[in-house]
């Protein structure tokens, strides 16, 4: 990456004015009418069957998009019930068990049916094959199966939540879940078990795609960081998800056959469940956040017109998080009765796993240095991500330090912390990614004004929702309390008020994005003048992504030399990534 080459910064070049016309067109310019008639993955086949039986990764990605959006809405409604109930110290609208079902529904739906599948399912599916220059996933049929397994498990799970419900919290701790809860623990567990298979299958597919489907010139060092992040995520999914499955199966075995595994009255140990649960669920938070970090790399570089600062540091910090992230699960259990020295090891490793996240934040910030930054919606979301994820990250240090965790454990401080990482981090990254690639997926550009406004509303609403919860948590307010001492009311009212604002923010994209499908301007192939391979084809892409096999000459983020290859190729109009019959030997010296 740092090898000297002829592309210096000393080539002054007018930056083309940002507009929504294609910047680099591998094919002759088409009029909008011709563009519409050109076959793309959306219009080359029609009919319901062409969607439900499709093996096209892009269509499957869109199916995920619709599904996870619906589940997000369910989870958001549950969150609305929870927050509204907390306006009053005695509970405003819900009975005690209704509240317990509401927060469990919020937690489980958001985690298992939204945060885990959203970026791998939608953006991973849609973009990984295109980013590596492939026609499709390595196993297209497996990809479709993975969607249906996930959809079946998810629908079954949501059905169980609506008939009878689940009141164990997403953590499902026995013996409460195994013996004392009167809700659908077994069937809900089965739903989670099924969706787990989908995670594993998608992960296998992505790993195989990255290994085997890269186009000529796409070396590991030239992979976009989003692909690196998806790769690291997939490795975690394959290693961790089976443990969750085993945990749930053991819970079922105990419940059905009375084998003492977790229940101390028949010889089990409830702490065993916690070890196994967190062995999955801690890496699971990295399953959720790593793809988001990948998106941020793509967005920040594009809108600041910069190379990523420290490509290797960012890529390897993902791998570091993935590896060390497996060894920190016990920091959820400092007070649960696990051994003191075991706790110390987990605390130390927790501090170590915080370092790669810090490295990423510094690298992202440094990426902006010397840039030429524009502030469209994806960039505002990405900056929001840095702001919120920083708070989420540093507040994790309070919880990773064993001494302070005693007081803060199981309080609203924890709630605020993980919402800052999961929503402030992941949700903002998802919005950044959705807004960034929406023109590529649909071929339409959404409203610039409304999208920027939505980003700001979400940012303000989110920050104000969870800041008071840090205070309430430090004051001692326990989590999962429908009723609480009146001195905490002020924090809860502030939090709920901001949550409504945040809700408005999250609802806005549904309107202007769907509106853009009907009224949006044609986006052109590359509206943001991004360098990734996915931008070098038409929007929406054709059924097979690329007209001809792409050839890669450079690392992914050569924004500061917009016409770099032009210099090399003596007047070729191709961009940094070149399509088709570009001269292959000229770019060989350049790369990561």
């Amino acid at each position: 990456m740092t090898t000297a080459n002829s592309i210096g910064t000393d080539t002054p070049m007018a930056i083309p004015k940002l507009d929504y016309t294609p910047q680099m067109s591998p094919e002759p310019e088409l009029t909008p009418t011709e563009q519409r008639e050109k076959p793309n993955y959306l219009n080359w086949q029609y009919g319901l069957l062409s969607w439900v039986l499709t093996v096209d990764h892009k269509r499957i990605g869109l199916m995920y998009l619709v599904s996870v959006s619906i589940f997000f809405m369910f989870g958001a409604i549950a969150a609305g019930l929870v927050r509204t109930n907390l306006i009053m110290p005695t509970g405003a609208i819900l009975e005690l068990d209704q509240y317990n079902k509401a927060f469990t529904a919020h937690g489980t739906i958001m985690l298992f049916l939204f945060l885990i599948p959203v970026i791998p399912g939608v953006l991973g599916n849609f973009l990984v094959p295109m980013m590596v220059g492939a026609k499709d996933m390595a196993f297209p049929k497996l990809n479709l199966m993975s969607y249906y397994v996930w959809a079946a498990g998810a629908l079954f799970f949501v059905w169980q939540l609506t008939v009878g419900g689940l009141d164990t919290g997403w953590t499902l701790y026995p013996p409460y879940s195994s013996k004392y809860s009167h809700t659908n623990v077994l069937y809900a567990g089965l739903g989670i078990f099924i969706t787990g298979f989908s995670s594993i299958l998608t992960a296998i597919n992505i790993i195989a795609t990255v290994h085997k489907m890269r186009c000529p010139g796409m070396t590991w060092g030239r992979l976009p960081l989003f692909v690196w992040a998806m790769y690291a995520t997939s490795v975690i999914q394959i290693l961790a998800t089976p443990v969750l499955a085993v945990t749930v199966v053991m819970l079922a075995v105990e419940k059905i056959f009375g084998v003492g595994i977790y229940d101390p009255t028949i010889g089990g140990d409830p702490i065993l469940f916690q070890h196994m649960f967190w062995f999955y669920s801690h890496p699971a938070v990295y399953i959720m956040i790593l793809p988001g970090m990948g998106v941020i790399n793509e967005v920040l570089t594009c809108f600041s017109r910069k190379n990523i600062f420290g490509y290797k540091a960012v890529a390897w910090s993902s791998v570091g998080i993935a590896v060390v992230g497996f060894l920190v699960w016990g920091h959820h259990m400092f007070l649960a009765g696990q051994g003191y020295f075991l706790g110390q090891v987990f605390a130390l490793l927790t501090m170590l796993v915080a370092v790669p996240s810090a490295i990423k934040v510094f690298n992202w910030t440094a990426t902006l240095y010397g840039g030429s930054i524009t502030f469209q919606a994806p960039m505002i979301f990405a900056i929001g991500f840095i702001i919120l994820f920083t708070i989420g990250g540093v507040t994790g240090l309070f919880l990773g330090s064993m001494g302070t965790d005693i007081h803060l454990h199981d309080t609203y401080f924890v709630i605020a912390h993980f919402h800052y990482t999961m929503v402030g981090g992941m949700m903002f990254a998802w919005q950044a990614g959705l807004h960034f690639w929406w023109p590529k997926m649909t071929g339409k550009m959404y409203s610039d004004f409304w999208s920027r406004l939505a980003a700001v509303v979400m940012l303000v609403g989110f920050a104000l929702t969870f800041l008071p919860q840090f205070v309430a948590g430090y004051m001692g307010m326990p989590r999962r309390y429908p009723n609480y001492p009146p001195e905490f009311q002020i924090y809860n009212v502030l939090s709920t008020a901001a949550a409504y604002l945040q809700g408005i923010g999250f609802a806005m994209p549904a309107f202007y994005l769907i509106g853009s499908l009907f009224f949006g301007k044609p986006a052109g192939n590359n509206p943001f003048r991004a360098t990734g391979l996915e931008w070098q084809t038409s929007s929406p892409p054709g059924p097979h992504n690329f007209e001809s096999l792409p050839q890669v000459y450079f690392g992914p983020y050569e924004y500061s030399v917009p016409d770099g290859l032009k210099i090399l190729n003596d007047g070729s109009t191709n961009g940094v990534h070149s399509n088709g019959s570009a001269n292959t030997d000229k770019g060989a010296a350049h790369g990561s």
Binding site: Y176, A336, F362, S372, I383, V394
Partner: protein, 350 residues
């Protein structure tokens, strides 16, 4: 159910030495984190303003810097490790009670959805714990059903109460007052009702409380296991409550707050209500008849109430304050359900 307790601003009360130590680390981490975040936000703001797109100014091609990477790997690492070391030291204090605490071990049993607590001296409480000030005490607990967590924010203390295990914590309260007790581990429908109070009392009040003669609130029963509590049970068993109750004073005088007061007796004199007077009034009521009352109090012989029992009854009478006398139909409620003592209906007891 929840009474609002004294709180000052954004800080929970610090009611033990450990709370102060815990907050020190909290403030240290807070300071470092605010500083670190300020650096990130400062750079972010600087870059966003300075490098906003200007016509004709291209972006610079910067690929990274090993020096900077080293810098922002090592500096956070050093701080993070300091959090770790300090955190372990603090945790070490939290889990290792001083030797004298082992001699004062309180037992806690959590069950859906209440805390049952027993003092080393035998007294029992539900959802409340009275502690002496400046005394290190150890709290050991287990659960009858699911996992609970015995959390006292004012002491910055918390430990999971796990079925099939005994776990413990220790406190050395250093500030009198009443503090929250929360169940911090989700335990089902009544999780948020599984709350209580920690009362930190002066040494004298704590001793008086153990005897049953000191109570924090009006109308509250003497603590289970104290002489007064035994006396209260006898008060019902021996049917004293039929005449001495809060509903009527037609047959018998009130017994509230009479200890060490002068009582007018027939014959135009007064007599100090001492222990001896109280004992005589039960064993041999005809000795002194209260002025204005008929001599209908039966004498309780040794076959009806032993001397030990009598001491308990006297202890109970001594502990009665205005409003404490039970009603005739009252019985001690079975401690079921999630209600704390604050919320029980007046007819329900206490």
């Amino acid at each position: 159910m929840f009474a609002s307790l004294d709180t000052s601003g954004f800080l929970p009360p610090q009611a033990s030495e450990f709370a102060v130590q815990s907050d020190m680390l909290f403030y240290y981490i807070t300071a470092v984190c605010i500083l670190g975040s300020a650096v990130v936000y400062g750079l972010l703001a600087y870059c966003c303003f300075m490098f906003a797109r200007k016509e004709g100014v291209p972006s610079k091609r910067i690929l990274g810097s090993t020096k900077l990477e080293f810098l922002w790997t090592s500096i956070p690492l050093v701080f993070f490790l300091s959090f770790f070391v300090w955190g372990v030291r603090l945790y070490d204090i939290a889990i290792n009670p001083p030797p004298e605490a082992h001699e004062r071990e309180y037992f806690v049993v959590g069950k859906q959805w209440m805390w049952k607590i027993q003092h080393p001296t035998g007294q029992r409480e539900i959802n409340e714990l009275h502690l002496p000030i400046d005394t290190a005490v150890k709290i050991s607990g287990t659960s009858e059903d699911v996992i609970h967590d015995f959390g006292v924010p004012a002491f910055r203390s918390k430990f999971d109460v796990v079925p099939g295990r005994i776990t413990s914590a220790w406190y050395k309260p250093n500030k009198e007052g009443t503090y929250h007790l929360f169940c911090d581990q989700y335990c089902g429908q009544g999780h948020s009702q599984m709350v209580g109070k920690i009362h930190v009392l002066s040494q004298e009040n704590y001793q008086a409380w153990l005897d049953g003669s000191y109570r924090i609130r009006e109308g509250k029963n003497p603590v289970d296991g104290s002489p007064s509590w035994e006396g209260r049970k006898l008060f019902f068993k021996l049917q004293c409550v039929n005449c001495h109750n809060k509903e009527s004073e037609s047959r018998a005088p009130s017994l509230e707050a009479i200890y060490k007061t002068k009582r007018a007796i027939q014959g135009g004199t007064t007599i100090m209500a001492t222990d001896d007077y109280l004992r005589n009034s039960i064993r041999n009521p005809m000795l002194h008849i209260r002025d204005g009352w008929k001599p209908i109090m039966p004498a309780y012989t040794r076959s009806q109430v032993t001397e030990e029992e009598l001491l308990n009854v006297i202890s109970y009478i001594k502990s009665l304050r205005p409003g404490d006398l039970p009603s005739r139909t009252e019985s001690t409620p079975a401690p079921v359900g999630a209600k704390t003592q604050d919320t029980q209906a007046p007819a329900g007891g206490n």
